[in-house]
């Protein structure tokens, strides 16, 4: 046993030596920044796949959007005199999500513009990390989609290498979601569809990789299982009953879910904890609503992908969902208590 230090020495100046902040040994092990880090980790495999398919250009796209987001975020924190946290990973997540949804052949100013829009219009005016009402990534990508639809929705063929710098010379194709929108059946066989080996967004086509990442996120409790479950199930049911292409309903599910960015939306955009509801049932309904709206936007919307718009609309609804579920629970408890009292 070590020698005793008289505690009086320790408390010559109590206020400085003693704090009222709990030591971490009494608190939970993981931190909120670590949760963001999980999402970043879960997105790195997609980036690797994109680099494998398209060369180094996807890396540059991701770097540009992440840099734009991070820079804008830090500058806004300085202006608003928040505590500037350079280690904050949430702008990085925003930038990565935007990059993953873009085609690899996109000119660099588009990810930069989308990232700036996401941070300067959607995130920081509403209070920055943790306070934003809308998913910044979804809004940024929606902005890009509205501004440059021809560029955003024309994808290069995989295995066609592109230089990081210099003009893009490869041939650009329409995505499979566009084929569906026209009512045609995309001519992609199923392994390629699962592996993401077809023209599409650079990060959002690798179904198997994303499934693995989803398992990782669920295991780390970073993503709530209810949201992707509700999203995918409702989307599947919708495309089962209202097939817009002349195939068997199961084929319709298969193509609708795996083309475009439905799965990516379900895993990375809807599960954003900041903008999702907090109550369990609220999350379930939120996911289902997002799935339904996504399919509706894809069917009737002006663009071939509707995930980002659907996410925006659902973000606007999440607070109301929570409120109504909480008040419902409260009223149920009150009625139950009255019944118990009546019994006594």
């Amino acid at each position: 046993m070590k020698e005793f230090i008289p505690i009086s020495k320790a408390h010559k100046t109590p206020k400085r030596s003693l704090t009222n902040r709990k030591p971490l040994i009494l608190l939970s092990k993981d931190s909120s920044n670590a949760m963001m880090g999980d999402v970043v980790i879960a997105m790195l495999p997609l980036l690797v796949m994109a680099c494998y398919f398209y060369g180094t250009r996807p890396l540059m796209v991701a770097l540009w959007s992440v840099a734009a987001c991070k820079l804008a975020d830090s500058v806004c924190c300085l202006i608003a005199r928040h505590k500037l946290m350079l280690g904050d990973l949430s702008p990085m997540v925003t930038g990565l999500v935007i990059a993953m949804l873009l085609p690899a052949s996109v000119p660099y100013y588009i990810p930069v513009a989308a990232g700036l829009f996401a941070i300067l219009v959607v995130k920081q005016p509403f209070g920055g990390t943790g306070n934003n009402l809308f998913n910044p990534a979804a809004a940024g990508f929606a902005f890009a989609a509205v501004c440059w639809p021809q560029t955003i929705f024309r994808y290069p063929q995989p295995m066609e290498r592109m230089e990081a710098a210099g003009p893009v010379t490869v041939r650009l194709l329409e995505g499979s979601a566009y084929t569906l929108k026209l009512g045609g059946i995309p001519s992609i066989d199923w392994q390629e569809l699962l592996l993401g080996n077809f023209a599409g967004p650079m990060g959002a086509t690798h179904i198997l990789v994303m499934a693995t990442c989803l398992i990782f996120l669920l295991a780390r409790k970073t993503a709530d299982w209810r949201i992707p479950l509700g999203f995918i199930s409702v989307a599947a049911v919708f495309s089962f009953f209202f097939a817009r292409i002349p195939t068997s309903p199961l084929n319709s599910i298969y193509f609708e879910l795996f083309s475009g960015s439905v799965i990516f939306t379900a895993i990375y955009m809807v599960t954003d904890p900041v903008t999702a509801p907090k109550t369990g049932w609220g999350r379930f309904v939120y996911g289902g609503l997002a799935g339904l709206l996504t399919m509706l936007f894809r069917y009737y919307g002006g663009f071939e992908q509707g995930g980002m718009f659907a996410v925006l609309v659902c973000n606007a609804l999440s607070f109301s969902l929570d409120r109504c579920f909480i008040s419902a629970k409260e009223s149920v408890r009150r009625v139950y208590g009255e019944l118990v009292n009546a019994k006594k």
């Binding site: 902040r21 608003a80 005199r81 928040h82 505590k83 100013y109 219009v121 005016p125 902005f143 509205v146 501004c147």
Partner: protein, 268 residues
Amino acid sequence: MSSSTQKNNLFHRFDGVLWGNPVLALGLGVPFAVIATVSMRSAAVLAAAMLCTAVPVFLVASLCARYIPQWLRAVVYSLVSAAALIPLRALLFSLFPAVFDTLGVYYALMALNPAVMIPALSHRVTGEKPGFALLNALCYSLGFALVLFGIALIREPVGSGTIWGHPVEIPFQLAPAQYPFFGFILLGYFAAVYQFLERLFVLVARKRGRFLKNSKKSRREEEKIPDSGSQKEQKKKLTWFKRNQEEQAEEQTGHNDTEGITKKQLDK
């Protein structure tokens, strides 16, 4: 406080230009500021329409509002402004006809412009002297026009690469600058900047007010506000709410913007 002090206060005579701007401060006339500001010309048309609706409506409100039952005032004002819009349309159509295609129904909707209706229906001008009403009409139209021109000055070059119809060289073009959502976002940023400047002004005015404490003018002001003392007490009583909450807020979420801005201002 009564509107008499408003008139005596020189600062509040010219209300509506910047201070109490109808669009940025009161949120009136948002549709026109958002949708119809795709070009400087349309902004000019709307500004002219605002002027020539505000003048007669405010005059009517100041002169013969007391002869009209309250529930009928809105009807009368809207009809007056609609009537005032028709000759103006003929005039402006001869100047720039193309604008009215982009404006669509919004020119006709100026008849119900809230930036005119709400002040006219409130006690701002009702029963005041016509001179004051006229001044208000001018100020409100000026403020309205400022905002419209400000937004159009960004949207027209970015959207269509022109300013007042003349093509200009700008590095990039963004067709969506003509879309409604872009107008909303621009308006939001304008309003934010407005609020920021407002706060700066208030802080400066406070410092000056401290110097003027025992001058005649400020004493007159204090007489006009009967309950200032009780207000002070109320504020004192409420401080105990503040303290803990502030501390907690500082500790929990690291936002210490309050101190930041304040100190900066007071050092000035």
